[in-house]
């Protein structure tokens, strides 16, 4: 008997075991949903006068909560349609991967709110030393980096494209530092909303469209 057959069999086993652990829900609708809400939220935030750091943080927290609920429902619907358990092992692993960076993003927003609320003397708080424009300009970059890290971590349990997308979000967020949001002369509040719209709106729409065109057949988690 050809021993190559044994190596091929082992490779097949390995591939199947990896595939079994991979999260396979169709992500195109989720990405497009996040993109649409992110873009609409950006435009509404720009026009809506959410211009203090506190208003900015709570406004985007509310949008994030809506996006989380909407995404949950979309994934739940897929599970119901496919007659499969929602809280499957791949779903659990994926949730565990994205949770720490998302919590860090939530806490960073709270820190900005608390720093502005609790420190009448800005000199006592590093974040308070920045203007409202600087804070609202920098926060989307921090959120973008953490969110990108969350997607990159989740990418270990998802199809390969997710890791690339997470890494791209981190790079785009880092590139957004280039115009100098830390500089009071260049930082602006509308730029904060625009950054949110680009990272969480346009980027997701683009990735969602790519997934829509490339995802084939039925997906299961």
């Amino acid at each position: 008997m050809d021993p190559k057959w044994a190596a091929d069999n082992l490779q097949t086993i390995r591939t199947l075991m990896e595939r079994s652990a991979v999260y396979r829900r169709a992500l195109a609708p989720v990405m497009i949903f996040i993109g649409v809400i992110g873009l609409a939220g950006s435009v509404a935030g720009w026009r809506g006068g959410f211009e203090s750091p506190r208003a900015f943080v709570f406004y985007w927290f509310a949008i994030a909560a809506g996006v989380l609920i909407g995404s949950f429902l979309l994934i739940r619907l897929q599970a119901l349609r496919d007659n499969e358990p929602f809280w499957s092992p791949p779903t659990r692993r994926m949730a565990q991967a994205i949770t720490p960076p998302l919590i860090a993003g939530f806490v960073s927003g709270l820190v900005v709110v608390l720093a502005n609320r609790l420190a009448p003397d800005p000199a006592n708080w590093p974040v308070g030393q920045m203007s409202a424009a600087q804070q609202t300009h920098l926060l989307p970059i921090v959120w973008g980096i953490l969110y990108g890290c969350a997607l990159y971590s989740a990418g270990f349990f998802m199809p390969r494209g997710m890791k690339v997308f997470g890494f791209a979000i981190v790079l785009i967020s880092l590139l957004a530092l280039a115009p100098g949001p830390q500089n009071p002369a260049t930082a602006s509040i509308p730029a904060g909303h625009a950054l949110m719209g680009f990272i969480f709106g346009i980027c997701h729409l683009a990735y969602g469209a790519y997934l829509y065109l490339t995802e084939k057949g039925k997906n299961a988690a």
């Binding site: 021993p3 069999n9 595939r19 007659n83 499969e84 092992p89 039925k218 988690a221």
Partner: protein
């Protein structure tokens, strides 16, 4: 190459479809019938036949329940199935090792 190594391979697991099912179940605490069928691109009949064979051998446990008023069949490896699968993989590794040592 020792031919006895090949002879020691578990015939039940060795079949392509059953090996695929065992591999997937080895990487997950449990999987639904639908998941197995979709990922392996098998027909309902094929999956049922293979699962039954593995069940008869005591390698796979099948649980039937209801989720949202719809029947849900989930499969998992039994301790005997996990042991048999590990032995099968070890044998394959030995075969490869033997061929390298030649």
């Amino acid at each position: 190459m020792k031919p006895e190594l090949f002879l020691q391979l578990d015939r039940v697991i060795h079949e392509k479809g059953r090996l695929a099912i065992m591999s997937m179940l080895a990487a997950s605490p449990e999987l639904s019938f639908t998941e197995l069928r979709n990922v392996l691109s098998m027909t309902d009949g094929n999956v049922t036949t293979h699962i039954r064979a593995l069940q008869q051998e005591g390698y796979v446990a099948v649980a039937k329940s209801y989720q949202n008023r719809r029947p849900l069949t989930t499969c998992s490896l039994t301790p005997a199935g996990r042991k048999a699968f590990a032995e099968y993989v070890n044998l394959l590794e030995q075969i490869i090792q033997e061929s390298r040592n030649k």
